[in-house]
């Protein structure tokens, strides 16, 4: 089994936003499953990490929540992306790529050895 990683707050928000963009309105359990699967189970999300992050997105206006009936007939709170959330996702994704490229360039094996 791969090494378990801790989720960083900022990246978790990005993952949630992306999950909601791809899958549409989803409840907390669904979001957790999706993130864990996407990470090939290298990430585990306990409630104490996930729900404060969801609430934060709600407070910032990037997501809204409403109670709905789930596919297997349970009532669950569904989160969906707002317009601001979409913009935020685009912005964050761009930032992230840029940072990732930069770090990758930094850490790349040196080609021109002296």
């Amino acid at each position: 089994m791969a090494e378990k990683l801790d989720v960083k707050q900022g990246t978790l928000a990005l993952m949630i936003l992306r999950t909601l963009e791809v899958l549409g309105p989803l409840h907390g359990y669904g979001i957790a499953r999706r993130i864990e699967e996407t990470s090939k189970n290298r990430l585990t999300l306990n409630y104490g990490t996930l729900y404060p992050a969801l609430l934060k997105l709600e407070q910032e206006g990037f997501a809204t929540a409403e109670w709905r009936q789930s596919e297997n007939n349970r009532r669950a709170k569904y989160y969906s992306l707002t317009a601001a959330g979409r913009r935020q996702l685009a912005r964050e994704a761009r930032e992230w790529h840029r940072t990732a490229d930069l770090i990758a360039a930094f850490l790349a094996p040196r080609r021109e050895a002296p």
Binding site: H27, G28, Y29, A32, R33, T44, N46, Y47, G48, T49, Y51, P52, L55, K56, E58, Q59, E60, G61, S70, N72, R74, R75, A76, K77
Partner: protein, 895 residues
């Protein structure tokens, strides 16, 4: 925008807590259910599925707490909860809370009150604009009463020219005047000032204008500026005062303004006048003579100049003066010139006393904090169980620590509030106290700084208290919880701390008691000092008749006749035995003091010329005042102007000039520079009598040499009546004052006091010192006694079982008592030893405040130690008695 929105949502979250909580619970439950469903679908049995789901959740309660923290403003919310909880917990133990609040209140109150004085008198910035740039120059020479001989006008001129780092020098000549008003005359202290005085001092008018250089010199109208305090006191703050003409002696001046409230030095002042009011201050003598020193100076440092620069320049200028004018600076007198910050000079008399009191108050706070710490420790042990439960329910160490801190803060703030109330009620008394030491007493108040000080103290105390309670380290939490907190007798560490605190309390109490003891003995010694008078039941009645603004001696004969008529009229009162007339009242310092030589005895080279006070006295004066005649005769009516000059000297003078010889018939004369400016004769005077010394320079001062001259042979510049009666002399005060007022309606009649009252006044500051430190000491002892009793009682409580077992094994109650007493006795003994050692050090620090008692006075130290030991043992006795009454049968059953 996004942050603002989030913040608003969070603030809203503060108020939607309960509904959101239900929502959250449902959401988490749904998550859990769905996850369980998933596990079941994978083939787990339902119970196992639920267990796995719960494990994966990481704890529903913890998650809910984390969301709650995200929801509202977690700090405010949980602190509010902590405060609510703390108040509830304290309400559940009202006894504890009350004792703690009162103890802290006394400690903080004492400190706040004393700090308000320290701040007002020593620390507060001066009200003068740029007050920290003001410097005071003091000229002094060797000899008693010569610590400040002031400056002459030529000296001031040399300093102006020689010290460019002084931007300006303000001259101030202390003088006095009689102010005539509709309701009679009053004697007022005035300062004759140069026009630049107020500008240099950095003072502004509250009404009208202040003097300016245009008011200097001759040919200008006399103008008067009132001090704020005198304006309020005498004129009731009348804003129509500006422009009013007031009569001062035989002259008049125009009131031009009122200056802002400010402290003055060296004397308090009622009003300022320009020099033109005094003929003397414009005379050639005053202006030209280098040794005619009657001017005080305050200077302002030039921009950029430092105090050190000013000191160096002034020292150089002063050295130049001394080499250029050798005659004016007698080398054996050691002329010195000191440049001090004005602010420091204002505080110089108060400093030691105030720091002493501040130290005493700090000790009281230490003791009360130690007591509260002990109470907290004991309560902490009893609460251990509760804290364990809280930890098991998810509170971390930090959270528990915060809970304790909030609880202690609540206690400390309540204590501080009580302390401020105590300080407020004491502040009037303290202002009266400080007035004896500092011209800045009027600036004492409970301002923001003082309140901040009280607040800071309470926070400090709360912080300390929160960290004496023992909580496990983060890692050791589990074992702590598992242990369940059964150890009701507390950990070894906290027990040692408790005992250490008791030892500290005893030690500090001993230090305070020793200080109180020494100061009380000082006060007692001082009031037992013989005044030198055979009785203290003598009424003194100063009657100033001479007009100092005019300096006119032509009416001297009439003045003397008026005194004589007053004397006869008072003598005729029923119950009066004798009435005398003299220049200066007994136990008061003479304003006139000169160098003295004896005929045929030039002073040995290198020896300073002896100095003596001049007092004049009528023949009856000695009998009326009760000054014992040791040798020779009193003055006689035949000692008149024109007859040979005679003198009566006191013992000190006789021993200075004629050791081992009979002084009668020897001749002495006044001499020196100062004499030339006075109408006092330098002729030889034949000694006809010797009288005993009297404590005119203060009860704690060395007796001064005195020369008495016949009242009839000196000009009556000063005068007053001394009345000896058959019964209580103070009963005569009202009648005598009325008679004298009728005969001299123009004269201010003030300070009509008996000798006993004058003496009492001079002891008063020491009495207040002793009373304040004693009350601190008593407070400390009470708190310490409660502390010892509390700790032992706690120890007995914790050892109930052990004592029960001991008693069932045959220990009798006496043995148990001894055991507990021994436990307390050891602490007491260590505290006493440390306390005595501390008191030895403290006593050396306050040496200057003592009189007639050695700093290491054995009687005081033994008495204090015995007293503390007795009180401490008494405090041990109560828990010991309780221990001896333990019924072994009951304790065994309880277990």
């Amino acid at each position: 925008m996004r942050h603002l929105r989030a913040a608003l949502a969070r603030i809203a979250g503060l108020f939607t807590g309960r509904r959101a909580d239900d929502d959250l619970r449902a959401e988490l439950q749904a998550h859990l259910d769905m996850e369980t469903d998933e596990y079941i679908r994978r083939g787990m049995d339902p119970a196992e599925a639920r267990r796995q789901a719960l494990l994966a959740s990481g704890g529903l309660t913890q998650a809910a707490e984390a969301v709650r923290e995200q929801r509202g403003l977690p700090l405010i919310e949980s602190v509010a909860a902590d405060v609510r909880y703390a108040v509830r917990a304290l309400r559940r133990s009202p006894g504890f809370a009350t004792v703690v609040v009162i103890t802290l209140g006394l400690g903080i109150g004492a400190n706040t009150a004393i700090f308000s004085v320290v701040r007002g008198v020593l620390l507060r910035p001066l009200p003068h604009k740029g007050g920290d740039r003001l410097v005071y120059l003091r000229h002094s020479i060797d000899g008693p009463g010569r610590g400040n001989i002031q400056f002459s006008v030529p000296e001031v001129g040399d300093l102006r020219a020689g010290a460019p780092s002084l931007a300006g020098i303000a001259e101030y000549s202390p003088w006095f005047a009689t102010l005539h008003g509709t309701d009679g005359a009053v004697r007022i202290e005035v300062g004759l000032v140069t026009g630049n005085y107020f500008e240099i001092m950095g003072l502004a008018p509250v009404l009208g204008r202040l003097t300016h250089p245009g008011d200097d010199g001759t040919g200008v109208p006399p103008v008067m500026v009132l001090t704020h305090e005198f304006w309020m006191r005498h004129f009731g703050g009348d804003s129509g005062i500006v422009g009013r003409q007031v009569r001062l002696g035989s002259k008049s001046a125009t009131v031009i303004g009122v200056v802002q409230p400010a402290p003055y030095f060296p004397d308090r002042v009622d009003a300022f006048l320009n020099m033109v009011i005094s003929d003397h201050h414009l005379s050639a003598l005053m202006v030209l003579d280098r040794t005619h020193r009657m001017t005080e100076i305050v200077a302002r440092l030039a921009p950029g100049a430092t105090l050190e620069q000013a000191r160096a320049e002034v020292a150089a200028a002063f050295a130049r003066m001394q080499s250029q004018h050798r005659a004016a600076y007698d080398p054996v007198s050691h002329h010195r010139l000191a440049v001090t910050q004005f602010k420091a000079v204002l505080g110089e008399r108060a400093r030691l006393t105030l720091w002493l009191l501040m130290g005493a108050a700090a000790f009281v706070l230490i003791i009360s904090a130690a007591n509260v710490a002990n109470l907290t420790l004991m309560r902490g042990v009893r609460r251990e169980h509760e804290l364990v439960v809280r930890a098991a329910l998810g509170a971390g160490v930090a959270r528990l620590r915060r809970l304790l801190l909030v609880e202690n803060l609540v206690l400390a703030f309540l204590g501080a509030a009580l302390g401020v109330v105590i300080a407020t009620s004491g502040i009037g008394l303290l202002v009266a106290f400080a007035e004896r030491y500092s011209p800045r007493a009027g600036e004492i108040r409970l301002d923001a700084w003082v309140l901040g000080f009280a607040l800071a103290l309470s926070v400090l105390v709360a912080l300390l208290l929160s960290f004496v309670a023992s909580l496990p380290r983060e890692g050791a939490f589990a074992s702590w919880i598992a242990g369940g907190g059964h150890r009701v007798n507390g950990s070894l560490g906290s027990r040692l701390l408790q005992r250490g605190l008791v030892v500290a309390q005893v030690a500090v109490s001993v230090v305070l008691l020793a200080g109180a003891g020494l100061l009380t003995r000082t006060m007692m010694q001082l009031s037992e000092v013989e005044t030198g008078l055979v009785t203290e039941d003598v009424l003194t009645l100063p009657v100033p008749l001479f007009d100092f603004t005019r300096m006119d001696f032509t009416s001297d004969g009439a003045t003397k006749q008026l005194y004589e008529r007053m004397r006869l009229e008072l003598l005729a009162l029923p119950g009066v035995i004798e009435v005398g007339v003299g220049s200066t009242m007994p136990l008061r310092t003479s304003m006139l003091a000169f160098d003295v030589t004896a005929e045929g005895r030039p002073p040995a080279p290198g020896e300073a010329t002896p100095h003596a006070d001049l007092r004049s006295a009528s023949p009856e004066y000695f009998r009326a005042a009760g000054i014992p005649l040791l040798k020779g005769r009193e003055f006689a009516p035949t000692d008149r102007p024109g007859s040979g000059r005679v003198a009566i000297v006191n013992q000190t003078l006789a021993e200075t000039f004629f050791p081992g010889e009979d002084p009668l018939g020897k001749r002495i004369a006044f001499t020196g520079d100062v004499l030339r400016f006075t109408p006092i004769s330098g002729e030889l005077r034949t000694i006809v009598g010797v009288v005993g010394n009297t404590q005119d320079g203060g009860l704690d001062a060395e007796p001064r040499a005195v020369v008495f001259a016949p009242f009839a042979q000196e000009l009556a510049i000063l005068g007053g009546l001394v009345i000896r009666a058959e019964s209580d002399a103070s009963d005569l005060a009202a009648t005598a004052t009325r008679i004298v007022r009728r005969m001299a309606p123009e004269s201010p009649i003030e300070n009509v006091l008996t000798v006993a009252q004058i003496k009492d006044q001079s002891v008063a500051p020491r009495r207040l010192n002793a009373a304040l430190v004693s009350s601190f000491g008593i407070l400390a002892v009470i708190i310490a006694a409660v502390g010892i009793a509390g700790v032992l009682a706690f120890s007995v409580g914790a050892r109930t079982t052990e004592i029960g077992i001991r008693m069932s094994l045959g220990a009798d109650s006496g043995r148990v008592q001894r055991m507990i007493l021994g436990e307390g006795g050891v602490l007491l003994a260590i505290g006493l030893v440390l306390g005595v050692a501390g008191a030895f050090v403290a006593a050396r620090v306050i040496r200057e405040l003592l009189f007639g008692v050695e700093p290491h006075d054995p009687a005081t130290f033994i008495g204090v130690t015995a007293m503390m030991a007795a009180i401490g043992l008494g405090a041990c006795w109560i828990p010991a008695l309780r221990a001896s009454r333990i019924d072994p049968a009951i304790t065994m059953r309880v277990q």
